[in-house]
């Protein structure tokens, strides 16, 4: 009756043992889900944020540094008898703010009553000092330091750019997987351009936590821990004193100043007016300030030296002169009458030779010069001849760094526009345009657009007599193996022609821009007044100084300020004086610029260049 029952029980026991071992085999060896969950359960990766690299000016003056700011964390379970009224007072919150923050915190996915949860972010140093005295009255609240950007100057905001929390879309685009939510990243300017150098390397500390989140020391005695590596410091080419002076001069005006050291392409200052105080885009109030700055109708976030594109106006006549001389289509003695039937002009001695034409900026003269560049009778067909001519001309202007971005070390540089045959083919159709269609290019108008940086670079080419270095803002990444690689570019135009043009530019100062004259410094410059169909003309001036062994090349563009000889030339001249002598003696001119009323209310803007 009981036969075989022993075996049934034996089989049952062995069966259970086998089932257990199979299940154990599955969860321990097959399914790695548990091993991964185990890691996140006990080992907490604590990030130590590195210091972002500092930014200095060319003379070693500190521009951007890091300042501690503080995030407030709360462990919900440890909060006892919270005096909400006092809490709100200390943290400068309204009751509604407090209720909202609590609700927001609870909604967060990672929220847990036993673990530290972010409650308030980015308290400033000042807040912290105030709060510190009260922290012992708020058990369960903890302060965690991290760093924010701080600035020694109110200037240079557009060049420096800003840093903010990485956005969702940036996070998704980050294929390197370096960034995590909540990380800061350079969003514009040098902060964005040199992000990989500035950001440094995060340190990681592995800590063991028990089930209540209580610290149980470091994992394996810190064997896997790494120290944070601070970012590299940037030594910029900016002269802070000059930059601040330039921003002062541009106050209340819209436009750009770019000054370059022609000997190496270093940008001494880059002013974008109007700008903003860089401190606005740091810290706790970032979002509200960002709204304010980005919705400002004067567009302070728009970096005009790089992104604004204007017709160059008369300063372009210098380029035309050089091309014509190199092509051999004019000589120094070539004379044309000031025939105003096609283009307008102003009163000056005539007929001009080439020197006088540059000096007095004679429009009809350059109309003829450009015709000679374009129509060299290389084809009997005038349309074809114009195309060949323009193609040739376009090659020249490209070598002046025009029509494409220069490759400056800032994001979102625009290239301007130098029209070549493809553009006119698109507008008029192939073989349906000729010189008379495009003659406005002769005097820097028409479909031609340049950025202020390109104009300054043009001044540097003049100063160097035929070559330029890529303009740049950073000369050294301190401590890094990779350093900026600055290229020299040749225009291919003989030096002797530059000597000739320099003389003419020097005389031009006395012809069209007497305000720019600086006693004791020989200055070469060229004014321009760019037609503006929307309002008053733009005032343009480019110059370099001194004539022998030039130290500074500069371009100034002031929107709606009328004739170039006034606003732009005055500003450029003051900048040059400031840079070369260290101080400005011509206080009357300075006051004139600061007053900023360049427009003569009686005389309407002249329709065509001076």
């Amino acid at each position: 009756m009981t036969e075989g029952r022993k075996e049934v029980i034996q089989i049952l026991i062995v069966f259970v043992g086998v089932v257990f071992l199979a299940k154990l085999f599955y969860i321990q060896l097959v399914d790695d889900r548990y091993a991964r969950m185990a890691e996140s359960n006990t080992i907490v990766k604590e990030t130590e944020y590195p210091f972002r690299g500092l930014i200095y000016d060319r003379n070693g003056k500190l521009l951007v540094y890091n300042t501690p700011e503080y995030d407030l964390f709360v462990v919900r379970k440890e909060v006892k008898n919270l005096d909400t009224a006092l809490f709100c007072e200390v943290f400068n919150l309204s009751r509604e703010d407090f209720v909202r923050l609590v609700a927001e915190m609870r909604k967060r996915k990672e929220y847990s009553p036993v673990k530290p949860t972010l409650f308030l972010r980015q308290l400033s140093n000042y807040d912290f000092a105030k709060i510190q005295d009260h922290m012992d009255e708020f058990p369960g609240f903890y302060i965690q330091p991290r760093t924010a950007r701080a600035y020694t100057t109110k200037s240079l905001a557009n060049v420096l750019g800003y840093v903010s929390e990485i956005s969702r879309s940036q996070l998704e685009k980050d294929t390197t997987r370096i960034y995590r939510q909540g990380d800061y990243i350079g969003q514009s300017g040098l902060e964005a351009q040199y992000e990989i150098y500035l950001r440094g390397k995060r340190g990681v500390r592995y800590k063991l936590r028990n089930v209540d989140g209580v610290d149980k020391g470091s994992f394996k005695d810190g064997e896997y821990d790494t120290l944070p590596v601070p970012g590299y410091d940037l030594i910029t080419t900016i002269d802070l004193a000059l930059q601040e002076y330039g921003e002062k001069l541009m106050r209340g005006k819209v436009g750009s100043i770019v000054a370059i050291d022609p000997a190496n392409g270093e940008i001494l200052s880059m002013i974008s007016g109007p700008s903003y105080d860089p401190v606005l885009l740091t810290g706790r109030n970032f979002s509200s300030n960002f709204m304010l700055v980005s919705s400002d109708s004067a567009k302070p976030l728009f970096t005009r030296p790089l992104m604004a594109m204007y017709p160059p106006g008369s300063i372009f006549k210098i380029v035309q002169t050089l091309i014509a001389l190199q092509e051999g289509v004019v000589s120094y003695e070539t004379r044309f009458p000031c025939d105003r039937s096609v283009v307008n002009c102003h009163n000056h001695p005539q007929p001009c030779d080439l020197h006088m034409a540059v000096q007095y900026s004679c429009n009809p003269y350059f109309h003829q010069v450009f015709r000679r560049i374009i129509n060299q009778n290389k084809s009997p067909n005038t349309f074809t001849d114009s195309r060949i001519g323009l193609e040739n001309w376009h090659n020249y202007v490209s070598r002046f760094g025009l029509g494409q971005p220069l490759g400056i070390d800032l994001p979102s540089e625009k290239g301007g526009q130098m029209p070549g045959p493809p553009l006119y083919n698109r507008i008029y159709g192939e073989g349906r345009w000729k010189f008379s269609t495009i003659y406005s290019l002769a005097i820097g108008q028409g479909e031609m657009l340049v950025t202020p940086v390109q104009m300054a670079n043009l001044a540097a080419i003049m100063a160097n007599k035929g070559f330029y270095y890529t303009p740049h803002l950073v000369k050294e990444i301190r401590g890094s193996e990779q350093q900026p690689d600055i290229q020299r570019h040749e225009t291919g135009i003989e030096e002797k022609y530059f000597d000739f043009v320099q003389d003419a530019m020097s005389d031009a100062i006395y012809g069209t821009a007497q305000r720019a004259v600086i006693p004791g410094i020989e200055l070469c410059g060229k004014t321009g007044t760019a037609q503006n169909p929307h309002g008053y003309d733009h005032s343009v001036f480019m110059a370099f100084a001194p004539k022998e062994n030039p130290k500074i090349a500069i371009a100034v563009y002031v929107e709606n300020a009328g004739w170039g000889g006034r606003a732009a030339a005055s500003i450029a001249s003051l900048m040059i004086e400031k840079y070369l002598t260290g101080e400005v003696k011509r206080t009357a001119l300075e006051e004139y610029v600061l007053r900023g009323q360049f427009l003569d209310p009686v005389v309407k803007a002249t329709p065509i260049t001076d």
């Binding site: 029980i9 049952l12 026991i13 089932v19 154990l24 936590r209 149980k216």
Partner: protein
């Protein structure tokens, strides 16, 4: 007086060896659970569970010697007396006992407490064995069956009153003894069928279960012997199972207490609320699962050390083994239990009277139930029922109870030659 042959030849030294290995492994794992790197505690620190467990082990040695010294006839002779004494102590616990962890199962003298329910296990095994071993016992008599179920029913009821469901359920394992001694397999089979249906009801839509029962019943009726009695039996069984399905919802929501409901839900789907009722099972599986093939090494288990698994050194001691010693360690422990149980069956089967054999199977049943349920719950195969893993879990009463259970069998086995042949 203890005879020399007990220690020299007749004692089953293989079982003693397995017992010693298990107790020492248990002790080391209890040490690992409480291990704190910063403190670097001693294995013998009396402030820790491991130190106290060592004390319990030492006391067990005294208990073993006591059991071996006593005349072998004592156990059968005093079986009912011991049984009655344990029932009395358990009732006493209900009246004056102290509550520990929601269970009122402790009889305390000062800071020292014992759980009489742990000792009720061997006492009941002895009493059941004595009854089965009595001369005119017939397993097929309904009256004797009822008496057997009363023997295990009384301690169950008292322990249930102590709110210790896990320990109470241990007594159901005696059905295995009854089965071995001739109880019709229908009764345990019916019990298993009801349990399976119960669990299936929680997993599968009811309509499929009904369809399945109807289908199986029809198949049996169509292809089996078409006797009227048989058809009636099948129909009655089908109706009964349908009733079980019907009652599951009622049982879950109205009979089971909320924490018991949650334990069953946790078994079925621990991921549904991993921080709530699924916590124990989830954390336990994480700890074991993170052990891999060879484990993290002795004292290197991060989850168990940091109290992620509740009841770590008692009911969930197997987690530490799984985490620190991996699948190999688990294999050793599971293997030890399987070998021990098979050895005990061998010992039980070689007894020359029914009392000794029934007692042997009682020991097998209790160890088997603890082994199956305890490890089953830590790896998510069984609802969480708070019962210890014999010889591994921390705790004096449990260790002493299991030790007594085992060594009474070894004592009886050592003297099997002197027993009256009465099978």
């Amino acid at each position: 007086m203890m005879r020399n042959d007990v220690l020299t030849g007749k004692l089953d030294w293989l079982t003693v060896l397995i017992y010693a290995v298990m107790v020492i492994l248990g002790w080391l794992n209890i040490y690992a659970v409480g291990y704190d790197e910063a403190a670097n505690p001693s294995l013998f620190d009396m402030g820790l569970n491991s130190g106290r467990q060592l004390l319990f082990i030492a006391a067990s040695v005294v208990i073993i010697l006591g059991i071996l010294i006593v005349d072998v006839r004592f156990y059968e002779a005093t079986a009912y007396l011991l049984y009655g004494l344990m029932l009395f102590l358990m009732v006493l616990v209900l009246l004056v006992g102290k509550e520990v962890g929601g269970n009122k199962a402790w009889l305390g003298v000062g800071s020292f407490g014992v759980q009489p329910s742990e000792f009720a296990k061997f006492a009941t095994a002895l009493a059941v064995a004595k009854f089965i071993g009595s001369v005119n016992f017939r397993m097929n008599l309904l009256k004797h069956q009822v008496i057997l179920f009363v023997f295990i029913g009384i301690p169950m009821m008292i322990i249930l009153a102590q709110k210790d469901t896990g320990t109470a359920l241990v007594f159901t394992s005696f059905i295995l003894v009854f089965f071995r001694e001739g109880l019709s397999p229908v009764i345990p089979a019916a019990g298993i069928a009801v349990a399976i249906i119960f669990i299936l009801t929680l997993l599968v839509e009811e309509i499929y279960l009904y369809a399945g029962i109807v289908a199986i019943s029809l198949l049996i009726i169509l292809f089996g012997k078409k006797k009227f009695k048989r058809i009636m039996w099948v129909t009655a069984t089908a109706l009964l199972l349908a009733g079980v399905i019907q009652s599951v919802d009622y049982v879950i929501t109205d009979v089971l207490k909320p924490h018991q409901q949650n334990r069953i839900r946790a078994l079925i789907n621990p991921e549904a609320d991993p921080l709530g009722y699924g916590w124990n099972v989830t954390q336990s599986k994480i700890a074991i699962g993170s052990g891999g093939f060879t484990g993290k090494g002795f004292l290197e288990g991060t989850l168990t050390k940091f109290d992620f698994v509740p009841e770590q050194s008692t009911d969930f001691i197997f987690c530490t083994i799984g985490e620190e010693h991996g699948w190999l360690g688990s294999l050793v422990v599971v293997g030890l239990f399987v070998v021990l149980l098979l050895r005990l069956i061998y010992l039980a089967e070689r007894q020359r009277n029914r009392f000794a054999r029934a007692y042997g199977y009682g020991v097998v049943s209790i160890f088997f139930f603890h082994f199956a349920v305890n490890i089953g719950m830590t790896i998510g195969l069984f609802p969480v029922i708070g019962i210890p893993l014999p010889f591994f879990s921390y705790g004096g009463s449990a260790l002493w109870g299991f030790t007594a259970l085992l060594f009474i069998l070894l004592k009886i086995d050592a003297h099997r030659g002197e027993m009256l042949h009465r099978l």
